[in-house]
């Protein structure tokens, strides 16, 4: 638009989000990688004499209730946090999106059966799922990630289905059909790109939820085994010190927030990349 209320874009924004998101995430990944070879302190051993030191001094970000260096914990915790978050989102996307698209394209009984199944999974609490999985395969970060992924899959399915329904009402789908293209083609070439915005948002939200849920689960003994540090667990452990040592919640909270922010920026960036009309909007 040319009206002066909308000053012309200062710079081409396409990619701005993408780049900053990618940079943030790369930093997180880098931190996780560095922690494999170096952390300021060993994040595992407990030192009762150095508990709950405030930030500053020898321990830049202070120490936690076990007397472990918070900075080192954050660095090492990035690994499991990324692992669980990313694999849960992958599992959920790979399960949920195809189901949702298929249901939305086929409609009829396929839709009914799939969606009722999805409803049942949605209703089945993730906690129970994790317990069951832990019972069958043993509790670990992997089972927790898979269980969280399965737990999140229904929302991917429902969101993809609703997007698919809308896309399928468009005439270009009819055009594809008349071009003798089957459902697979329509699903991958028309539906997927047109619902990608929502799926990307869904993935970035699901990541945040998975990271927080992993904390709750591992605290109950269903997730990562202590003493392996994770941001979620740090948050959980810091909870009861909120009043007297708020930094114990603050730092892991910030770490999660920054990662989620990076992911969302990346998501928005990808979204804009995939959307040729993004520059046309006002």
């Amino acid at each position: 638009m040319t009206a002066p209320t909308t000053p012309a874009p200062v710079r081409r924004h396409l990619g701005g989000n993408l780049v900053s998101g990618a940079v943030v995430l790369a930093l997180v990944v880098l931190t996780a990688l560095i922690s494999l070879v170096w952390t300021p302190y060993d994040p595992i051993p407990v030192s009762p004499d150095e508990r709950l030191l405030g930030p500053g001094g020898l321990h830049l970000l202070g120490t936690d209730l076990y007397g472990r260096d918070v900075l080192s914990l954050l660095m090492a915790g990035a690994r499991i946090t990324l692992l669980v978050g990313v694999s849960a989102v992958l599992v959920a996307t790979l399960l949920g999106v195809p189901v949702g698209i298929w249901a939305g394209i086929r409609r009829g009984w396929v839709d009914a059966v799939l969606m009722r199944a999805v409803d049942v999974v949605l209703a089945f609490p993730a906690l129970l799922l994790t317990i069951v999985f832990g019972a069958v395969w043993g509790a670990s970060a992997t089972t927790a990630a898979i269980a969280l992924g399965i737990g999140a899959a229904p929302s991917f399915a429902r969101v993809s289905r609703s997007g698919t329904l809308q896309v399928m009402a468009r005439e270009y789908v009819l055009a594809a059909r008349s071009a003798n293209r089957g459902s697979w083609w329509i699903a991958t070439r028309h539906v997927l790109p047109n619902i990608s915005g929502l799926v990307i948002v869904q993935a970035s939200v699901a990541f945040a939820i998975a990271v927080l849920a992993e904390a709750a689960l591992s605290y109950l003994g269903f997730g990562t085994r202590p003493p392996t540090p994770s941001w979620g667990r740090m948050l959980q452990e810091g909870q009861s010190y909120l009043y007297d040592h708020p930094t114990l919640v603050l730092f892991p909270g910030l770490a999660i927030a920054v990662t989620v922010l990076g992911l969302n920026l990346l998501g928005d960036g990808l979204r804009d990349r995939f959307d040729p009309r993004s520059e046309a909007r006002r």
Partner: protein, 475 residues
């Protein structure tokens, strides 16, 4: 930053914030410490009770005699006792209650399994026969198993209480809140409060929040000591710490490798710094222990730990035993406090050379099944909160799997010997258990109360299975 907040309770009422909620009102059927904590002494009364100093004192029985063989106890019941529905207490009620013990599904009834007969000598006198002399009998009688129920009034105990105590349960919103009202005809005179409300909080922060907003007048048995600093310097609240029967025990499976080797058990005790564990897990609250005897027990002895923190010695012991880096599995219940203990212990053990595979197990369902029932463990941690529970080291079927015939003999002699020698015998027994490194006794947990300045009479120690609210008053 505790601000003064007006109490939300009406005059003559007091609201208490507790943590663990009873599953029902019937401790003849349901296990769990929460039911007797709420009901014993407050609603239900046994013949005797354990006072706040740990001593057995008369309750429904005004006096009793023991025969020379020490297997026959004759109790004289207090005059003028009535149940909450107005029916007077007689010896028949006692007989019916004790005769019903085998029907309990709650295993605590087993504490009185020594009773072979109960008979009503007169309406006010009842005689109890034991199979063998037992110096622990009166203590057991003061527990929930000794409760005197109204004969014929036990049909719906799960939802309706009928006891002789100073309060009766008016309503119980399961897991949420229990309201107790004064029992008008209580034999000890009118109770101090017209109504006591017990509110249950799963989240310790919520429990203390209730205090600060006037939603509760007292929090008893707070088990998140990290929340205390905000109250400690406040004029509106008093924080008290008292003794309990609850020992934090690092259990070792004495019956199986590797802890059938006493050197490894000693290595564990040398490797773990109990003070460090106490610091991390209980913010330094808690009382150091050398064996499984709390200071309120008559046979408590202030002795130094035979295996003090000495990682160097632990390493030597491991080397002696042949494997400087033994792999052990460690099963920890999935409750915050245990996880903290577990992580700290793990850290100490690894520093001494152990390789620890720590697993957090769901409590109670999975942990009990694997460790307590299945004996499928090497190292575990748990609080043993029953009074005088050290004797379990002589139970060959118990999960400790400890086998020391000499100690067993000492215990048997003490329990059935003359009462005058009971305490001394038990003292010896406790020492033997500790020296045998049957387990690592990390510390005694403390009973922590935060009460508003208006409230008095809160139980400062937890010496029995009851949270004794009979003297609790506000204003």
């Amino acid at each position: 930053a505790a601000g003064p907040a007006a109490s939300g309770s009406a005059p003559g009422e007091v609201t208490v914030a507790l943590s663990r909620a009873p599953a029902s009102l019937d401790y003849t059927r349901n296990a769990g410490v929460a039911i007797p904590q709420a009901l014993l002494y407050n609603v239900y009364e046994p013949l005797v009770k354990i006072d706040s100093e740990g001593a057995v004192v008369p309750l429904l029985a005004s006096s009793w005699t023991v025969d020379d063989a020490r297997t026959s106890y004759t109790f004289t019941l207090r005059e003028g006792v009535e149940f909450a529905d107005g029916r007077p207490l007689t010896a028949d009620d006692v007989v019916a209650s004790f005769d019903a013990l085998p029907d309990w599904t709650n295993a605590v009834a087993g504490q009185l399994s020594g009773i072979v007969a109960t008979e009503a000598v007169s309406p006010q006198v009842v005689r109890v026969e034991l199979d063998e002399p037992d110096n622990a009998f009166l203590t057991a009688l003061a527990g929930p198993a000794g409760t005197v129920f109204a004969a014929g009034g036990t049909d719906d105990l799960a939802t309706r209480t009928l006891g002789t105590g100073p309060y009766t349960v008016e309503s119980y919103d399961s897991g949420v809140s229990m309201r107790m009202v004064a029992h008008e005809g209580y034999w000890g005179g009118p109770p101090p409060m017209e109504r006591i409300t017990l509110d249950y909080y799963t989240d310790p922060t919520a429990q203390t929040n209730a205090l600060m907003t006037g939603g509760a007048d007292a929090a008893l048995g707070v088990d998140a000591p990290q929340l205390l600093p905000q109250f400690e310097n406040s004029p509106d609240f008093t924080v008290t710490t008292g003794s309990t029967d609850a020992e934090m025990v690092l259990s070792m499976n004495n019956a199986a490798a590797p802890f059938d080797d006493v050197r490894l058990r000693r290595a564990v005790r040398h490797a773990v710094d109990s003070d460090g564990v106490r610091e991390v897990a209980a913010e330094g609250y808690g009382i150091p222990l050398a064996t499984m005897v709390p200071p309120t027990d008559p046979w408590y002895e202030d002795r130094p730990d035979p295996y003090p923190y000495d990682p160097e010695r632990a390493r030597e012991l491991l080397a002696e035993a042949g494997d400087p880096h033994p792999a052990i599995s460690f099963k920890v219940p999935n409750l915050p406090q245990y996880v903290r203990v577990g992580q700290t212990v793990q850290s100490y053990l690894e520093a001494a050379g152990f390789r620890v595979d720590m697993r957090i197990l769901e409590f109670p369902a999975v942990w009990l099944g694997e460790v307590l029932t299945g004996h499928d463990y090497q190292l575990a941690v748990i609080i043993h909160s029953e009074p005088r529970d050290i004797v379990q080291f002589s139970d060959p079927d118990y999960y400790f799997g400890y086998d020391d015939p000499a100690a067993d003999a000492v215990l048997a002699a003490a329990r059935s010997g003359p009462p005058g020698e009971y305490a001394a015998g038990m003292r010896d027994y406790a020492r033997m258990i500790s020296e045998g490194a049957a387990a690592d006794f990390l510390y005694l947990t403390q009973w922590i109360n935060v009460v508003s300045a208006e409230v008095s009479g809160a139980p400062e120690n937890s010496t029995s299975e009851s949270i004794d609210l009979t003297r609790l008053a506000r204003g």
